[in-house]
Symmetry: C2
Subunit: 159 residues, 2 copies
DNA sequence: ATGATTTTGAAATTCATTTTCAAAATATCA
DNA sequence: TGATATTTTGAAAATGAATTTCAAAATCAT
């Protein structure tokens, strides 16, 4: 029973009547230590480096717990497989996604958020979350297109 | 071979070396005549009122053609099933989605689009498409919550 | 410990979407 | 026109991400 740093996730589990287990703690820890935009596969692989017996289902379940309790949030990025990132109270960022190479670049714009609130208010909505995704071609891929002079047809594989 | 109005979709098929068929024309026509945010199921049902023998696969395939050629665009709205809407050159709108009743409200903001372009430019991206989705509770559902004084737990079913 | 409760992981299931493939429709051209 | 090549269709099978099932294992409260 190694203590996995003072992750408030365990606190939270207790509050919800859930148990803090070796698996959950490990998954939460690895998730919090990883860079954003991980797929479940990727997270599962990393987790298994420490404990190879952890099942996919548990990773999915824990990720859901993390999401429900505000530590993680799932993003779709135009693909079928979800990617997860950290969520920090009050902070928010959105994404530029390259349709060719799959690169994901983050940005934040208080101006846009402000305009969003105003629109929501006008329409009578109370907003809890939002997603702003800009799809296009990144600088690198634009340069490559320039080189070949051809339209690049391959789809982003995110591999 | 009834002519289904001057839908440029047929023109486009020809340009791409694809055939204009009874099924494709019918699916495209029904799609273009329908309100936005249809699911594939819903479109398929409507199409089958005219021709009950049209298969799901063909609806999916035609919708993909429509999307690739710029007539339709697919949206996800936080659910697993896609919804399709018309796309008009140069026009764009985004969405407010009620997490309780599933209501979808459209909006457009030139100010936001402008800020988006500026961000993309700064990051070296060339943007072709974007999605801005605001998730929250609509006025009606907020009113109901007020009435009961309780948090409403049901998820949007979009039924 | 004892027994109740929760969690786990492998396998099965779900469900939207895609693919397969043989039959049907359509185009090409002699 | 008829013969042949190509494309499209639709039913059924396959895919693939995510969820559920369930018996075994872990954990909790006496
Ligand atoms: Zn790129
Ligand atoms: Zn991010
Ligand atoms: Zn509502
Ligand atoms: Zn719309």
């Amino acid at each position: 029973m190694e203590k996995t740093s003072g992750l408030p996730f365990q606190q939270l589990l207790k509050e919800r009547g859930l148990k803090s287990t070796r698996q959950r703690d490990e998954i939460a820890r690895v998730f919090m230590e990883s860079a954003d935009h991980l797929s479940v596969d990727e997270l599962c692989q990393r987790v298994r480096q420490k404990n190879p017996r952890i099942g996919y289902a548990t990773v999915y379940r824990t990720l859901k717990l993390l999401a429900q309790s505000g530590w993680a949030s799932a993003r779709q990025f135009g693909q079928r497989t979800a990617r997860f990132e950290h969520r920090t109270e009050g902070e928010h960022h959105d994404h530029l996604i390259c349709l060719i190479c799959g690169k994901i670049v983050e940005f934040a714009s208080g101006r846009i958020e402000e305009l969003q609130s105003r629109i929501a208010q006008k329409k009578g909505f109370r907003i809890f979350d939002h997603k702003l995704e800009l799809y296009g071609h990144c600088a690198d891929c634009l340069a490559k297109k320039e080189m070949t002079g051809k339209e690049v047809r391959e789809k982003a594989t995110n591999e």
